[in-house]
Amino acid sequence: MFKERMTTSAIPERVFSLCRLIASKEMEEAEAREKIEPSDIGGKTSYFGTVREAAKELGLITVKDGKKLCLAVDKKNISNMDAMRKYIVKHIQNIHESLFYAVTQAYLGLQEEIYKYVSVSDKELVALMSQKTGLAVYEDDMRAWRFWSSYLGFGHLHKINKAANAVELLVPNVMVYLDSVIAVADLEIDKKYEISQFMDLISKYTDIIQNTENNDLNLAFSYGLRGLHDSEKIVLEHHMDSKDMWYLYKDEMHEIPNAISHITIRR
């Protein structure tokens, strides 16, 4: 999932379930597989392998002696799916080279252009992802991408195309992702950060949602920050006399229409 091709079967909930099983007791793969995918029920296709690989790629589990599955993280990191998200966000650079990472950057870089599509697997969008990433992206990659991108908090899935086999469009807004970023980054509560300082502190976590070569934040990032601001988790400010300025995707209807100079974390 996070190395070469993305796989639809390795969804976050399954990775979480596997981690929880391993956390209760280290066990050989065969035993774990039989518990999670009982051989006498369900289909013949096993998802176990792809799920195990995704968990390994994210650094959540390891395999001892070639067959014994062990939890690679403290149990508190898998106490619930929010905790697991925070762990993944904290170590997001572990998958920096992945197709998932590249597609995420490209997808969120589309800004409002994404609204032209009705599904993440629209042919034109898949082709555009290939073009933007310079990597081969297939429809199945995008189908798999949507599960993790919505889980990590890059946006919400919306089933726009109602055909039974059609998949959703991810409507970008990284509010949930940024919420995790703020939780794992070493930030002080109630300290008013200058915006550049703040962006530096979170850059290794937010590089996946925007490669910030300039001070313009993309649509998903901007509305993510606005969402946290409107939820009173952070305070965005624009001090006119500040020389340090970053720019949100413009929305003159919002209290923070464009420029921000300071940010305070409120918890």
Binding site: S24, E37, K162, G227
Partner: protein, 1055 residues
Amino acid sequence: MNIAIAKNRMNSVVNMDIITSSEADFLATHVALETIRIHSDRYDGKPEAILNEEQVYDRYISHPGNNHQFLLVMGEPGTGKSHLIRWFAAKFRQDALGNEVILFIRRNDNTLKGTLRQLLDLPEVENIPNKEVYDRLVNAAATIDNRKLRFKIYQEFITEIESDDENEILSNTEKRRLIAFLSDENVKSRLMSEGFVIDRIYKKVSESEDISDRDVVPRFEKADFTVDIDFGDKLIAQGASKNARKMADALLADNENDYELTERVVDYMNTYVDAVIQQCAGLKPGDLEEVFFEIRKELKRQEKNLTILIEDITSFTGVNLALLNSLNARHDGMNEEEGLCRISSVVGTTTAYFNDFRENYQHRVTKFLEIPNNAFGEKAENLYEFIGKYLNVMSLNADVVENWARNGALDEDYPIHECVEGKYWDYYELNDGKRLNLFPFSQNAITNLYVCILEEAHRTPRFLLRDIVERVLKDYIYNRDGFPGFQIERPDHIPGWNPVEHRNHINRNVMEPDESRRLQNFIRIWGNANVYETVDTETNETYLGGINKKCYRDFNLPPISGLKISTNEIEDVKKNSENHDKEGESSKTANTSQQKPSINDSYTEIPNQAQIDYQLGLDTLDVWIAGGYLNVGATTKDVINITRARDEINVFLFSAINWQQEGVSLDNVNKNRLLYKKGLVGFDRQKRGLDQFLIILPADNNTQSLLEAFLAYVTLGRKGDNRYSWDFPGAMRHLYNVQLWLEKNKKKIVDAVNHNGEDEVDYYEYAIASEIIRQILFGVYEGKTYEGISPKAVIAPNLMKKSDNSHSFKWNNLMDIMLKNDKKIKDTIIQYFNIIQGGWKSPMVFLRYNEYIAAVKDVKKKKLSLELDKTDTVGERQEIKDIWGKIAVRIEEVAESERQKASEKLKELKTYVDIDDFDEEELIDLLEKIRAFYSSAEAAHFNIQADSGLINDVKKNAKGICYAIEEVDKAIEVTEPLSVLLKFSSDPLAKMDKLLALCLKLAKDIKYINNDVAKRYEKTNVVDEGHEKAKYVNERQQIMSAKDTVIEWEVKECF
């Protein structure tokens, strides 16, 4: 505006048709008509010239010389014919040509009598012969009360038909049926109602002051006789006569085909229109011609000529041919000896009305002056000037205007009032630089109200004045705190917010609904439909939505701040966001770069349907938020898109919430989905179906934002039937509202799905308990305690069919019940704990193992004692509880019946066998003795036979039977129902039954032998007792020996 003056002057200035209206006011309010097409032969061909009204006046009206001319002003209703003719008349009078008598016949006095009265009132005809007779004729009290006139007109038509025996348009039968049809009360009521023919004719005959659209033609039309099935049914239901019904049926059939009969009926009725009108007016055609000739002769005697201007020829309905004859009677040539003055006539008529007599009169028309459609108001500037002049004139004292008119009504002297109200207001600048203050309008308000209030057919000066100028002024004067609160007939044509989300800015800042509505209407109609706040750097004036903020104070509108963007900031923003919002930026720049509302030349363009639908939906939501009801679910125009929005919100919620991540099983979500078919969320104060939704969202601003976003999605983003997209301007802000709303409300939704009232959803526990019982009842599980049933076994594919067994009837009955649901139960457990990707159910299984194990453990911990008092609101969840309920309620009685049966059987077995310490060895020994018994019996020729199969079966299962007897013996002592079930789970009675069956057979056979021995013995004693005793001594010994053997078996009661 000077309201103090305008209050007094408004009526006389605005109502230009009333007799008392001032010509000076008319001239001061006149706006020139720029496009008049001139035709010579036909009015419908290519014009020979296109002139403005001044040119037409100079060329054809003001200097007719001694030439007879008949000018016809043509045009569709509302094009401004009468306005033009009135201007000709006023202008002509201003020019005051010495020997030209000018007679202007106005439409406001458009009855036949009124027209003749105007002719006779001319000072030049004071001395004509028979003047007194004519005066009496036209001044006599109306022959009939106007209120009764409609009935009179109607009755006259029937009378005409009844006395007709010549007209061949209709057959006599058809005439009879038509009379019956017209005599029916329903037909009468319909034809006399507004818009139908009698009403149209009435308005031409009556002397009412009503100002309606006078261009209607007082003739029968097909629509008057178009009937539908409902109308036909109504006639039948209300007992219409046979002939009336036949005519209705014929018209109905005709309406569905070729209208042949309808057209004949229309033509036939129209032949009587003139006669009926004359009859009702009490005049004859000859009266008019006679008066005309007398007047012309008198003028000739005075060496004067006559110019007659008739606003509307339909005024002469009933005598129009007589009028045309009079106007076309030349003073020269063959008529020279008549001594008539020269006549120049200018007559206004609609194209349709002229068509009725064009054949006979077309060649007599000197020129056709055609006013094209929308010549009035073709340019927005004309409307601004028109309204500006009216506002100006009504703010001037009458004497000021009269003076100006008396002095030649020169443009350079045109008086402008001094503003008392609306000093900062929008204005229209005349060519010479004079400014017409538009208070309380703005240029945008004029163009917008023109479209939002007037239907296309009513876009004429008259309706503009009555329905816009007068209405708005009165609202301002008498309803200032509620202004603008006047009626707007076509609210869907009010410009929508641009950008659409600016509306929310108002809602956020003005909480009181009525005030919010006022402000919204003001900015949308008067301004630029946005809330940008800008400062004019030259004047330092502040503008909100393109309107000077001081103007808001004039109407006591709520003071709010707009979205402040300075010119510098526009540049700044533009520079910084060049790459990411080109579209939005350009719209902002355009709006802020100009301070005044722009003149919208394309005001006649209506918004596209999506915008209209969106705006209508927003208005509906406003009403709801203000305390009204939301008729969501209905298919009426105002809520159909709200319904669609609601449906799409629910589609979104199902896909946007990562249910499994939130700890909700997809099996549970799916069960909710199947119950709440219209979706999870409904709305407070929706008119119906409140009980059909899991969550009712409150009527507050948050819900409104959510609904508005999806309203935009289903209107602005509509791509076809049930197909939408977020690809429309402003979608990102709507989506932001949606996503923020979701994050704030997700927990509430998740909790609602995962709870039944206060309790967490637990239907899977009932499924697990049911499955555990199934495994016990069907003997799938062979352990001694239910705690031993493994989680793996609970979901394993181990469903079983029912086979022969020795369980009690009730046990079997419960098995039958379980067989009906076993698959559903198993599936529920698996799917509840299954982790599914991209769907609601999946045959592939990947378990939430830890949760599943915990659930099974929990059920066991509760000893399968699960709550059954509370009903689950979700049917499919309750169904699982119901299944468990059927099981749970039977467990005790099944256990008792099984125990009872076992007890009885054991008791019966004990009559044959002593089961204390009864083991396999004893049983085998017993079987040997049974075999020996049957051998002996056979040797003694008793007619019995051993059941070798049964004996072998018992032998084969000897160990199991002994164990079963022991188990049953213990089981019947157990009282706890679940334990009883577990004891009998492997059906020990079935094994015990084998031995019991053998015992029963043996007992039966022994009884038979005993009986047979007795019979044989009796036989021997009866024949020869001594001999027989000797004869059977051996056999007796054998039997006695067998008896001894059997006694050793301890089968006591048989012996």
